[in-house]
């Protein structure tokens, strides 16, 4: 199954769906089209919402938040591996967006702008965590209890096959370890490209760099991951 099938268009708010392995390559294009059309219409709505929010309308800002917060939270959750850290990133990102909304000048799309804020916060978080060298993919929920994020999908995806479930958990652990070995920037580019399906041009914009640099970073990240996973086999 081509991995490209996971690179569906940028999910926006309620329209986004968890990507399923069942989505074969045959039906990826309609999904991409639906996603991008929905995203486009949402962005048109966004313009008026942004203007209202810039004039101090908090309700408009909250609607805007709901367009993006699910994907923001998912990114933060996957990158930080902790629900409480993800919540902190979410909170800080949107508060920062609210405070600085006046400086948004429609030079890029709003989701690029908000993701720029989120990725910066996540990069800070990854840099701090790299000092501690924590292992993914064990996550900590809001109550401080550890759980594996991969387990949440085990039943759905394996058809309650305990053996396959065990293998997947093992693979998940390896992937987590391999991902955490990347530099924060490599991790971020890989995350945005592979898991969030963003175009490298957009990734470059979000990270305040060029498409070419993002491309090189992605190449490097993939090489490292492949090597790490090969070693672990």
């Amino acid at each position: 199954m081509p991995a490209d099938s996971y690179a569906v268009a940028f999910p926006v708010g309620e329209i986004s769906r968890p990507r399923r392995a069942e989505q074969g390559s045959g039906n990826q294009n309609p999904i991409r089209m639906r996603g991008s059309l929905a995203a486009q219409s949402n962005r048109i709505d966004d313009t008026s919402l942004i203007r209202e929010a810039q004039q101090g309308n908090r309700a408009a800002f909250e609607v805007l938040v709901r367009h993006y917060d699910q994907s923001v939270l998912r990114l933060a959750l996957h990158l930080t591996g902790s629900e409480s850290d993800a919540q902190d990133v979410y909170q800080e990102a949107f508060l920062k967006a609210y405070k600085n909304l006046g400086s948004f000048r429609f030079e890029c799309s709003f989701y690029t702008w908000i993701y720029r804020i989120v990725t910066n916060l996540c990069l800070d978080h990854l840099r701090k965590r790299n000092v501690r060298k924590e292992d993914a993919p064990v996550a900590v929920d809001a109550s401080g209890e550890e759980y594996s994020r991969l387990e949440q999908f085990a039943d759905v995806r394996s058809g309650a096959n305990p053996e396959r479930d065990l293998m997947r958990r093992e693979l998940g652990r390896k992937i987590g370890t391999a991902l955490s070995a990347l530099t924060p920037r490599e991790r971020m580019v890989f995350e945005l490209k592979h898991y969030h399906g963003l175009k490298l041009r957009t990734v470059g914009e979000m990270l305040n760099t060029t498409e070419e640099t993002a491309k090189n970073t992605l190449f490097r990240a993939t090489q490292k991951l492949r090597a790490s996973l090969a070693e672990m086999r």
Binding site: Q54, F61, H78, L150
Partner: protein, 317 residues
């Protein structure tokens, strides 16, 4: 060489990041080169492996909790300060104002205020010349005061036992003039005070001082003006006293007193006017006024007084 290029780009081919022509080139090459086709397979299987563990969607509980926490924080958070907006996005604050009439009104007010300020400065510079004049006037008392620059008289005081009068008057700034009653400038100020001052006490003082020099025709004119127009009966009465010596010789004064006798609202002033014109009752004007008063005046005292005076009048041949 071609294989190197393909291997470097195969990842972007898989991620759909290549232009159409590069994509086409790779596809052509993959059809011919088994090694590169193996590389493509390896890349895809690597990606498939990663996809075995997809990104977890945040649970609805986590999302709801995050939203709630954000909403609470937003209630106490303010958007960027005005200065920040002014610097970062002038168009936004202009949009925010979006009240062009209000802006126009504000600009008008600023302009109006500026105009007043400029006029004030212009006027304020003029009295400084007058003030210099005033200072000069102490040594050169004959030079006149520019009446148009006077905005009001603050006080008039006479030094006891002398004809020295001290007058505080306002131009734009309060100034002070001192001099003899015969001083033209002092007289001018007194006349101004008698006619124009808003303070009846000052008018009273001015009239009081003026009555000491009623020989001047312009002083009599001022006193007549006061008698006819001053709102304060005491001041009118004082003016009447000042004019008393001229009822006989000055027809204008006599007519003025008669006008006061007929039309003044204060009976005290009228009684005083009546007493003043009594010696003049041979004057036909005076006589006709007295006749009218004796017949129809509403004030009983004036009516009876006028009758008495008429009765005492010598028969005219």
């Amino acid at each position: 060489m071609k294989c190197d290029w393909v291997r470097q780009n195969i990842l972007f081919y898989v991620y759909n990041e290549l232009e159409d022509d590069a994509r086409y080139e790779i596809e052509q090459h993959l059809g011919r080169c088994a090694e590169c086709a193996t590389e493509l397979k390896a890349t895809r299987s690597f990606q498939a492996e990663l996809s075995e563990t997809p990104v977890a969607e945040p649970t609805p509980n986590l999302l709801a909790a995050s939203r709630m926490r954000l909403q609470e924080a937003l209630e106490t958070t303010r958007q960027g300060g005005l200065w920040q907006r002014l610097i970062l996005e002038p168009a936004i604050w202009l949009r925010q104002i979006h009240m062009v009439p209000a802006l126009a009104a504000a600009i008008f007010m600023v302009g109006f205020g500026g105009g007043i300020g400029a006029t004030y400065n212009w006027v304020a510079n003029r009295p400084s010349i007058v003030a210099n004049d005033a200072n000069d006037n102490r040594s050169n008392p004959a030079s006149p005061v520019e009446a148009s620059a006077i905005t009001g008289i603050r006080s008039v005081t006479q030094e006891p036992g002398s004809n020295q009068v001290n007058i505080k008057y306002d131009t734009v700034l309060t100034q002070e003039a001192q001099g003899s009653l015969n001083d033209q400038r002092i007289q001018q100020l007194l006349l101004f005070a008698a006619r124009n001052n808003y303070n009846s006490g000052v008018r009273m003082d001015s009239v009081d001082v003026l009555t000491q020099a009623p020989g001047e025709s312009n002083v009599r004119e001022a006193l007549l003006y006061v008698l006819q127009n001053d709102t304060n009966a005491g001041v009118r009465l004082k003016a009447l006293d000042g004019l008393s010596g001229f009822v006989r010789q000055d027809n204008q004064v006599r007519d003025g007193v008669l006008r006061a006798l007929i039309g003044d609202t204060n009976s005290g002033v009228r009684m005083q006017a009546l007493r003043l014109v009594e010696p003049m009752k041979t004057d036909s004007n005076v006589r006709s006024v007295l006749t009218k008063l004796a017949q129809t005046d509403q004030n009983a005292s004036i009516r009876s007084q006028a009758r008495t005076m008429m009765a005492q009048m010598p028969e005219m041949d």
